[in-house]
């Protein structure tokens, strides 16, 4: 939940896409019900919060996990050196403060004193150094090593000072120290993959691990010695319910306290007096966007006018209204509306079939043979949209886009493929014409890996093969700058270029739709979402449900 990495991942299978609904975002609207009694009750310790997820965690050593379930649970057990506050600013977590020295080449962290591991062992800078070394160790099967391989030198100056030195200034570096710090005294000289800790984690965080029944539930207990104060809610249970219909029934019967609703459930199934009395619904933009990506190596999509025409021919609001029941916002670029890096002034492509046809005919595409499909030099304009199995939203989008593009004379086919084959056979080998996929929007705006022209090798993430010298330059400048105002300038320009060139059609940013039992008080939606102050949530004494 608090973990930066959980958000840095791409939206992959439905599993992840659904879990993503639990991730934080901006408040567009807070549920109408339940806000009334908010301040009348006194905070009290006790009760249990039962969270739900469609997938089980894989390991509770977060550096080894790449699924959001593991990161959600581990986020309550471990701390990083830094974390994001509710307004998306980096603040200290295990680090009390930090200094950026040598023009951004060195970061010196001053760590909190008197922090204890759950087993009572004191936390020191040696734990941080150990975690860093583990990340860089080629024997550690982690997907997050990259930012740590940029470190030239790391050392513990004393027990509570930790310093890292980089070869060149690297702005995303600070965020990377949000990684969960692992206990050296339990992991030293051990094979981390086979460590006990993956099933029985020991951290510094607000909750202490208690038990894990594989595929059923994980139980955590409040940490009375937590350095930010003991959490109000005594017990946290993470229940695995793989079927979302079952999950909804469990919610209705009161046996789970939170789930991520689907747009259909949010608008059609939860508007009853019963629901309003016992639950609070939240709705805010999620940290992800869905897009139609073009293979820019394909001659069909070389001409930016063609891409702009397709963007004009797709009614994005219609996609949101139909696929997400109106719960989302049109995306204009790779950032989330409302954040400091988001540029609201870029070129937009409102639904306009006339303009789409005009742009296409400028590019030489017109219906010369009168068969209803536009053509150029005798070749009809047709292509296939690929997307992955298990994500109904994407499949529905594909169908609506197919319908809209047919109206401007473009013939579209749709193919839906299992995730592993989709990535291996099509994305990595660049065997696609267009795809509908989603990206998570990371809190640090560095998008070097996705848009830099050098990142187009097989398996790298710029698989649409976008290449623009100005964007390349700006991406590098931005990641070597710590000053937020200066970075913002670079990213604003990048968004302008992307909006003009439309290397992909940005479709929409969907809303996250969590629902939480109304007995929980103290939930304050903020730009980062709702989870950031979980330890301050409470149930007033008379409303507590699970009393030992």
């Amino acid at each position: 939940m608090k973990h930066a990495f959980a958000r840095a991942q791409a939206i992959s299978q439905t599993v992840l896409a659904c879990l993503l609904l639990l991730l934080p975002g901006i408040t567009a609207f807070a549920g109408a019900a339940g806000q009334v009694a908010e301040d009348s009750a006194d905070p009290a310790h006790g009760d249990t919060f039962i969270d739900s997820s469609i997938g089980d965690a894989s390991t509770l050593i977060p550096i080894l996990a790449s699924d959001s379930a593991s990161h959600s649970v581990a986020g309550l057990i471990y701390n990083g050196l830094v974390k994001y506050d509710k307004n998306l600013n980096l603040i200290g977590d295990l680090a009390e403060s930090w200094e950026i020295l040598d023009k951004g080449l060195t970061i010196r962290f001053h760590l909190r004193k008197n922090v204890l591991w759950h087993d009572g062992h004191p936390f020191t800078s040696r734990d941080v150094l150990f975690t860093y070394r583990t990340m860089c160790d080629p024997k550690t099967p982690t997907a997050y090593a990259d930012p740590f391989l940029q470190v030239k030198d790391a050392r513990a100056l004393d027990d509570f000072t930790f310093q890292v030195h980089y070869a060149k200034p690297f702005a995303p570096a600070l965020e990377s120290w949000g990684l969960s710090v692992l206990p050296e005294h339990l992991l030293k000289d051990k094979d981390i993959v086979k460590s006990e800790l993956s099933r029985h984690p020991v951290g510094t965080g607000p909750y202490i691990f208690q038990s894990w029944e594989s595929g059923a539930k994980i139980t955590l207990q409040a940490n009375p010695r937590y350095f930010e104060g003991r959490p109000f809610i005594d017990r946290y249970v993470y229940r695995v319910i793989p079927d979302s219909a079952t999950m909804f029934l469990e919610l209705k019967s009161g046996t789970i306290d939170r789930m991520g609703l689907t747009p259909m459930q949010y608008t059609r199934q939860t508007d009853t007096p019963y629901f309003r009395q016992y639950f609070k619904k939240y709705c805010y933009l999620s940290f992800s966007y869905t897009y139609l990506g073009y293979n820019l190596k394909n001659p069909l999509f070389k001409d930016s006018r063609v891409r702009q025409a397709i963007s004009c021919a797709i009614d994005k609001q219609e996609l949101i209204d139909v696929v997400h029941m109106g719960l989302g916002q049109i995306a204009t670029g790779p950032y989330k509306p409302g954040t400091w890096v988001y540029n609201p002034q870029v070129k937009r492509y409102p639904f306009n079939q006339h303009q789409a046809r005009e742009l296409l005919s400028k590019a030489g595409w017109a219906d010369h043979d009168g068969d209803g499909v536009i053509d150029r030099d005798g070749t009809p304009f047709q292509f296939t949209i690929l997307t992955n199995i298990g994500n109904n939203e994407r499949a529905k989008c594909a169908e609506i886009i197919q319908y809209r593009l047919a109206q401007v004379g473009i013939r579209v086919k749709i193919r839906i493929i299992e995730w592993a084959s989709f990535i291996n056979q099509f994305i990595n080998q660049r065997r696609f014409e267009a795809v509908i996929l989603g990206w998570t929007i990371p809190q640090d705006p560095d998008l070097y890996d996705i848009w830099y022209s050098g990142k187009t090798k097989p398996e790298e993430l710029n698989f649409i093969s976008y290449s623009n010298a100005e964007v390349d330059g700006l991406l590098i400048k931005a990641r070597n700058t710590f000053d937020q105002n200066e970075r913002r300038k670079y990213y604003f320009r990048i968004q302008e270029i992307l909006a003009e060139e439309q290397p992909c059609t940005f479709l929409y940013v969907p809303d996250a739709l969590p629902v939480i039992s109304s007995r929980f008080h103290g939930i304050e939606p903020a730009p980062i979402g709702i989870d950031y102050n979980f330890i301050k949530w409470y149930v007033p004494k008379q409303e507590q449900k699970y009393v030992p």
Partner: protein, 324 residues
């Protein structure tokens, strides 16, 4: 007899090797590898990280070499470690899930037998009667009714509307604080719906078998003889007809042994039961080769054993086969 047994067991070994070879090949041919799935589409993961992961899992070696190493370990019953990030022992992962699935399936099989036997016998005794027709409609309804839908309807009724039964899962939150009797009751309440729903779907097969095999036996000469010498109908049916009619059921039971350990994905998903079906599904989707192979070996081993046991008990039950 012992010679026959030994021969059968020896014949199972090449069969097992063949099964593992084919499954190993198919799984590795499926696109994607565990290393891909861990870091695919992850902006923070470099191709270098991927190569590291591949080497870590030994996936950089040629397939026959990988198979050889795997076979060598499996020969001493070492199933190895899972490729999933928890890196646990495959055997642990399997045996932690198996009791749930086996319990559920055994209970449901017992329920099926308890209902299907009388139903089949009655149907055959009163063939083409109103009762027979009702039973037919009932069992085929169970067969045709999608179990996930029935499950959801029952959950809504008993879980949400009436609040009598828990909706999903295996234990209540306060399970650990209960007395032994309370724990058993808790399990019972959680297992009631899953067992009912899965048994309902399985009634058709078993009751139809019993019915048709009874019908066949009833037409035999020795039954006519029994009737001719004035035996009571009860004793004809239960002592003479049923015993013979049950022979094919032994085969059927033998064949259901692998079914006892292989859970159903849909079923376990609907009821949030952490069983074998879900484990297999998850391991296939994440290309967790050692785990998939471990489950396949255990599954195919049990299938072969089931066949063998069925054959043997058939021989024990039927003197005609023993003589041959």
């Amino acid at each position: 007899m012992i010679k026959y047994l030994l021969k059968r067991i020896m014949a199972m070994i090449p069969m097992l090797i063949g099964i593992t070879m084919i499954s190993f090949a198919i799984i590795h041919i499926a696109p994607g590898s565990p290393a891909d799935l861990l870091i695919q589409m992850n902006p923070k993961a470099s191709p270098d990280a991927k190569a590291r992961l591949r080497a870590y899992y030994g996936l950089d070696k040629p397939l026959p070499v990988q198979y050889y190493y795997w076979l060598k370990r499996i020969a001493v019953l070492d199933f190895g470690f899972s490729f999933s990030p928890d890196g646990r022992k495959v055997a642990d992962k399997i045996f932690e899930r198996m009791p749930v699935t086996v319990t559920l399936n055994v209970l449901s099989l017992l329920l099926i037998m308890a209902v299907a036997l009388p139903l089949g016998i009655l149907s055959s005794m009163y063939q083409h009667s109103f009762l027979d027709k009702c039973a037919t409609v009932f069992v085929f309804l169970g067969f045709a009714w999608p179990s996930f839908w029935l499950a959801l309807l029952l959950m809504m009724l008993f879980g949400v509307k009436l609040g009598w039964l828990p909706i999903s899962g295996l234990t209540s939150l306060n399970h650990d604080t209960l007395s032994v009797l309370g724990m058993a009751a808790d399990y019972g309440r959680h297992l009631l719906l899953p067992v009912l729903v899965s048994a309902f779907g399985g009634l058709a097969g078993m009751s139809r078998y019993v019915r048709s095999s009874m019908l066949e036996v009833i037409r035999q000469d020795y039954i006519t003889t029994a009737r001719a010498k004035g035996l009571e109908e009860r004793s004809i049916i239960y002592r003479h007809a049923l015993r013979n009619a049950l022979l094919p059921i032994i085969t059927l039971l033998g064949l259901s042994v692998p079914g006892l350990i292989g859970g159903s994905v849909i079923f376990e998903t609907i009821f949030s039961i952490p069983g074998m079906g879900q484990l297999f599904w998850a391991s296939a989707m994440s290309r967790d080769y050692p785990l998939i192979m471990g489950m396949l070996v255990i599954g195919s081993g049990l299938t072969l054993m089931g066949n063998l046991i069925a054959d043997l008990s058939y021989a024990l039950a039927d003197p005609r086969i023993r003589v041959k």
